[in-house]
């Protein structure tokens, strides 16, 4: 193996146990006389490093570049949309407060929009020590260019050690743009964040490979350490109206704001609740048999006050629109209750819903993989079960 490769196996330390090869999720390791040969496809994921009992596999670490001591505090982007703060911001403030307290550093929030000044007090009540407000009609609507420029400027001036953004459609578009401008690392769609007490680094956990694998990621020598954080994973910060904090009005220097993309129109989604926001999601799969099955799914969703989800095959067949699709190539949801009706539960579908609090599955196939992750699995014909279930729910509502 070339010495300049970032991954190295020590011939001396390797005991030829062969544990590394099956540990590789990308099948990059072949054993030659028991010694691992790692192919060019290695993505340096560390699975083999973890698996090696002898510490014989090492991945080179990077060299420091930035004076890290200048960076202090946790900055939270409070996404504002159509006159309200996106609730993920309160979740970020809850987690941000925890991280800031552990580091004994301040918690900042930034909000951008028109008429958003009135939200500053709320962000303080939710834990921010200082709130930066860009309140200007020119940035009323989200656009990547000007928002990224403002956040870059703020991060360069305030120098937060950690910068958290909600992993919403907007956050996942804006976050990478800002990270690239700051030439720093961004970890996507985190589900866990903590501070390593020794190194004081942000330890970020996220699902990869459709949730089959969890990865722990750090950003050792660039700042800020940036994460987009999945919505509805962390609890919202408690509201404490007696908290005091500083509110800083920031001028949006419009002259130098890039603004290349024009918003011509916005059509709000027709559904009252999107599947991403819903506390209850009722999803249908190919087991429905035909597109009309979604009428039954919608009826059950209505009875429960939930939103309608769908598996990929039903969307591919044109039974229902793409915005309902749950899974790896659709939306990720984490409702309090997920009902999978006639869904076999492929790896890809599970990736989009397996972290739901409670999963109830109805499927006629006892062997369906969905039963492996369901809190409650009912083996039966959904066309017999669901209509009766709807009836019973309605009866109970009347009585209640």
């Amino acid at each position: 193996m070339d010495e300049d490769r970032p991954i190295q196996v020590s011939k001396e330390a390797c005991i030829r146990c062969g544990l590394c090869a099956p540990a590789c999720p990308f099948a990059c390791i072949t054993l030659v006389d028991g010694f691992p040969v790692i192919s060019e496809d290695c993505s340096l994921c560390h699975a083999c490093v973890e698996a090696c009992p002898e510490g014989a596999i090492a991945i080179r670490e990077a060299l420091g570049e930035v004076d890290l001591s200048e960076y202090r505090g946790v900055l939270v982007f409070a996404e504002h949309r159509e006159g309200r703060v996106h609730p993920v911001a309160y979740e970020l403030l809850g987690k941000g407060r925890e991280l800031a307290d552990e580091l004994k550093e301040p918690l900042y929030a930034v909000i951008v929009g028109s008429g958003v000044g009135r939200w500053a007090e709320e962000l303080v009540a939710r834990g921010a020590d200082r709130v930066f407000v860009y309140d200007n009609p020119a940035v009323a609507t989200f656009r990547d260019d000007p928002y990224a420029a403002l956040l870059e400027d703020l991060a360069r001036e305030v120098k937060p050690s950690i910068f958290l953004i909600g992993a919403t459609a907007i956050g996942r578009s804006l976050g990478p743009r800002v990270a690239a401008r700051l030439e720093t690392g961004l970890t996507a769609d985190c589900t866990g964040l903590e501070v390593d007490p020794e190194t004081r680094l942000l330890v970020q956990t996220r699902p990869a490979f459709g949730g089959n694998i969890m990865a722990t990621i750090i950003c050792p020598d660039r700042r800020p350490q940036m994460s987009t954080v999945r919505y509805k994973v962390m609890p919202e910060a408690e509201r404490d109206p007696t908290r005091r904090g500083e509110i800083v009005e920031r001028p949006a220097d419009l002259e130098r704001l890039p603004d290349r993309v024009k918003v011509l129109d916005f059509q709000p989604a027709e559904d009252e609740v999107s599947i991403v926001d819903a506390d209850i999601v009722v999803s249908g799969g190919k087991g429905l048999g035909d597109p009309d099955g979604f009428k039954l799914i919608a009826e059950l969703a209505r009875a429960l006050g939930g939103a309608v989800g769908a598996s990929r095959p039903t969307v591919d067949e044109g039974w229902i629109e793409y915005r309902h699709q749950v899974g790896l190539s659709g939306r990720t949801v984490r409702p309090k209750l997920y009902m999978a009706c006639g869904i076999s539960g492929s790896v890809q579908h599970q990736a989009g819903m397996r972290t739901s609090d409670v999963i109830i599955a109805i499927n006629s196939d006892r062997e369906a993989p969905i039963f492996g992750i369901a809190s409650l699995g009912a083996v039966g014909d959904l066309y017999e079960v669901i209509p009766r279930l709807i009836e019973k729910i309605k009866e109970r509502r009347k009585v209640g």
Partner: protein, 265 residues
């Protein structure tokens, strides 16, 4: 736009996961099942590039970064009708996070001639970040639009399109050149023809190494990455399930109990 559009589509080769099985003992993908394919969400990017070329004339160039075997992904794109194949491959590119990947791709695009549009899939099915597109646009100094679900028209040096946000759909107008990432709603990818497959075998592949790109070696691959993966593990399976069989009435009763237990009714 008499010369037509110059379109660059960025793709990635990923391990096939559609049929893949998880080993119940190790919780990892069964290695013998793993084949390499074009990232499924990139197929929509390729298709949209081809459709725009068919409508406006021009050329579709495909770019990928990866090991030499990623050539197969480019040939798949050629079989569908893409014109130029560009492979960025070099040992120093290995282990790149999204920052180093997008930096490298931006340098590659600098070698590929003038362009009007860069199209990427919404995300890959392996890394699952969706970050390379916007980061690449930043390195190129052009605007980007994520989650595009329809291109309405391209005229007078601008593109009009719609994109999906969490709460609705926006219609946007962007000047060219621009980078877009597309959802699977945007089109229905075509299948390769036999003739396409045959000619793709002979298609020319242009290789780019770090020597061709200039740039500083410390900015490629693992060394150029801001993030480090320090651990990979298999998540604990969610709440071990109770599975009930019986008459429909029994099933309904048990589901009702569960709904009451978790306080949704």
């Amino acid at each position: 736009m008499s010369k037509g559009l110059s379109i660059i589509v960025c793709i990635k080769q990923v391990p096939e996961t559609t049929e893949v099985e998880i080993d119940p003992e190790t919780g990892r993908l069964r290695r013998e099942e793993v084949a390499a394919v074009v990232n499924p969400l990139d197929e929509y990017a390729i298709e949209e590039g081809l459709r725009l070329k068919e409508r406006h004339g021009g050329v579709v160039k495909v770019l990928t970064m990866g090991p030499p075997m990623a050539e197969a992904a480019l040939r798949d794109a050629a079989a569908l009708g893409c014109d130029e194949l560009w492979l960025a491959t070099d040992r120093v590119f290995a282990g790149a996070d999204t920052l180093a990947t997008s930096y490298t791709l931006a340098l590659c695009i600098g070698e590929m001639g003038p362009y009007d549009l860069v199209i990427c899939g919404m995300k890959t099915t392996d890394g699952d970040t969706g970050q390379v597109g916007p980061e690449l646009a930043e390195h190129l100094g052009i605007p980007h639009i994520c989650y595009v679900n329809k291109v309405l028209d391209v005229s007078d040096g601008a593109i009009r399109l719609t994109r999906m946000l969490d709460d609705g759909v926006e219609t946007l107008l962007a000047p060219l050149p621009v980078l877009i990432t597309v959802t699977k709603e945007i089109n229905q990818p075509r299948l390769a023809t036999l003739r396409g497959r045959l000619s793709a075998r002979k298609a020319d592949i242009r290789q780019l190494t770090s020597d061709d790109l200039g740039g500083s070696p410390g900015e490629f691959g693992l060394d150029g990455s801001a993030t480090r993966v320090i651990k990979v593990f298999t998540p604990a399976p969610p709440g071990g399930g109770e599975v009930v069989e019986g008459s429909s009435d029994e099933l309904v009763e048990r589901i009702l109990e569960k709904l009451i237990e978790c306080k949704v009714i």
